[in-house]
């Protein structure tokens, strides 16, 4: 088997005396669709903050495409090909939608932008995600689904190899959930590996080719959706004994 795209080895993260992550190891391979689930407070967002480089880990190693990125700052990891969305949307509020996308397009490998035309590339992404009509709207007037789509569009603008979607569907209606799912599936078809953190089980089960379950800062299960559903520890973590 080829070496994994993302290799998380024995990662530990503490906040003071609280162990947010204890000896977490996982591998993600090229082209996979991985669902990351777990009860509230199980460390999902902490884990992706560690992978994205927002948090420094206290133990273990993280490799991406064979490169050790453990000590690399977040912006360098983005340039290597890891992009993420935020659970609570964090748009650049003083800018228009188009300008929001221009930030990653300008700062992540700008020479590779097709034809060097940043604005055109940003517009193309907005068209793909169905927001072209709002290109020149300032972010403050957007609805929740538009904000969530903007998060995805901005991550796409960083042209990632690995996209981490942190609860990209939270708070959306089921029609809107399907819309976001369709976008993620399309991105995956184009070769982008995706890690999805989600509480909406219907979406996770449908989307993921593999599911990893976190509980109290440890991985308790890793397998296909069917295997996970049959896993007794998962049931215990979610429902108690």
């Amino acid at each position: 088997m080829s070496s994994p795209l993302l290799d998380v080895q024995h990662v530990t993260k503490r906040f003071g005396g609280f162990h947010a992550l204890t000896d977490v190891s996982l591998q993600v391979h090229d082209g996979e669709r991985v669902g990351l689930i777990g009860p509230n407070g199980s460390g999902k967002t902490t884990l992706i903050n560690c992978i994205a480089g927002v948090l420094r880990i206290d133990g273990g190693r993280i490799r991406f495409r064979g490169t050790d990125i453990t000590t690399r700052p977040a912006h360098q990891r983005t340039r290597l090909g890891i992009a993420r969305t935020f659970q609570i949307p964090k748009p650049f509020t003083s800018m228009t939608m188009l300008e929001n996308l221009c930030i990653p397009l300008t700062y992540v490998r700008p020479r590779q932008v097709h034809g060097g035309d940043i604005a055109a590339a940003a517009m193309a992404i907005l068209e793909r995600i169905g927001l072209a009509g709002k290109a020149h709207v300032t972010v403050s007037s957007l609805t929740l689904i538009e904000l969530r789509k903007l998060e995805l569009a901005r991550a796409m603008a960083a042209r990632p190899l690995l996209l981490i979607a942190d609860e990209a569907m939270a708070g959306l209606s089921s029609v809107e959930v399907d819309e976001i799912l369709a976008i993620l599936v399309r991105l995956n078809d184009e070769g982008i590996t995706i890690i999805m953190i989600e509480h909406i089980m219907r979406a996770v089960m449908r989307f993921s080719s593999r599911i990893i379950v976190l509980d109290a800062g440890q991985t308790i299960a890793d397998g296909t959706p069917e295997e996970i559903l049959r896993h007794s520890a998962v049931e215990k973590a979610y429902l108690g004994t």
């Binding site: 983005t78 800018m95 700062y107 960083a158």
Partner: protein
């Protein structure tokens, strides 16, 4: 042509200033205009870190005074001419800027602002206890008697400060329209998201802090020559902190035009008030105007005009 036009404009402004010294003789005119020009530099410099990047710096007096004391030191130590002291003051204050740039790693928002205020107090205490540059009682500076091309030293200082003002506006304009300005705006809006979108936030913040501090230091370097006496209380005057913050707020913080508009309006009002009413009224004017703008036009005059144009 589009690239050379701003350069032509900048050079013609400085050239116009030089020609002016041949026409208008009144020394007070140059003295007062110098103060306004100095505020254009200070508020433009402040805006690079405070307006573009969103880190509110209360330490303007520290950077300004460091520039002023650098030139005082060089003058006492080796009789360095002003045109050497200005880049030296910029360099030293730029280094201090690098220091507060690293502070942004741990301190954000109001905590950063308080730290910069503390920095002013610490530096002032150091200077007060440094006898070589005059200590607490200060030291008088004897201006060079003759200066080539100029009728007197006040006119020379005026042209120097005019050059610094045009230069700092040019730098601010360049930053604003470059990829650096885009990244700084992203940091101001959301630093974590900016970092995750590939913006090297630390490097850009350090850049902004160094440029901002360096320009303030350059504005401070001619100060001892301007008032021919330097002492800690006037060099570390809190007015600099208040004004360099209030002027961009009044003009508008997101463009290079804002600090210029704010400094010209507020600076002129202060100079007029000093002559006609009293010198103590300065800060009161600033306070009242600032409160008015924060309530009525939070985006400053430039923001107000932009909104009016959009509505039409």
């Amino acid at each position: 042509m589009r690239r050379t036009l701003p350069v032509v404009i900048a050079l013609s402004i400085v050239g116009g200033g030089m020609l002016l010294t041949g026409v208008v003789e009144n020394r007070y005119f140059y003295f007062a205009t110098y103060v306004i020009l100095q505020y254009i530099v200070l508020s433009t410099a402040w805006n690079i870190l405070g307006g573009y990047t969103g880190y509110v710096n209360f330490g303007t007096p520290a950077f300004f005074a460091l520039g002023a004391y650098t030139s005082t030191f060089l003058m006492l130590f080796c009789e360095a001419p002003l045109l050497v002291s200005i880049p030296a003051g910029g360099l030293i204050s730029g280094l201090l800027g690098l220091g507060i740039g690293y502070l942004t790693l741990r301190l954000k928002g109001v905590f950063f602002s308080i730290a910069t205020l503390a920095l002013t107090v610490v530096l002032q205490t150091l200077i007060i206890n440094w006898e070589f540059v005059g200590g607490a009682k200060g030291i008088s500076i004897i201006r060079p008697v003759a200066i080539p091309f100029f009728r007197n030293y006040v006119q020379f200082l005026f042209v120097v400060m005019l050059g610094l003002a045009v230069g700092s506006l040019a730098i601010a304009r360049w930053i604003e329209h470059s990829w650096i300005g885009l990244g700084l705006a992203a940091i101001r809006d959301n630093e974590e998201a900016a970092e995750c979108m590939g913006v090297p936030t630390l490097r850009l913040k350090l850049f902004a802090a160094v440029v901002s501090g360096g320009l303030m230091g350059m504005a401070g370097a001619p100060f001892p020559y301007h008032i021919s006496l330097i002492e800690p209380l006037s060099a570390f005057n809190l007015d600099y902190a208040v004004n360099s913050l209030a002027m961009p707020m009044i003009g508008g913080t997101t463009t290079w035009v804002g600090p210029l508009v704010g400094a010209v309006l507020l600076g002129t009002a202060q100079q007029v008030a000093t002559v006609t009413i009293s010198s103590e009224l300065n800060l009161l004017i600033v306070g009242v105007v600032l409160v008015g703008f924060v309530i009525l036009a939070p985006d400053g005059i430039v923001g107000l005009l932009q909104r009016m144009l959009k509505r039409k």
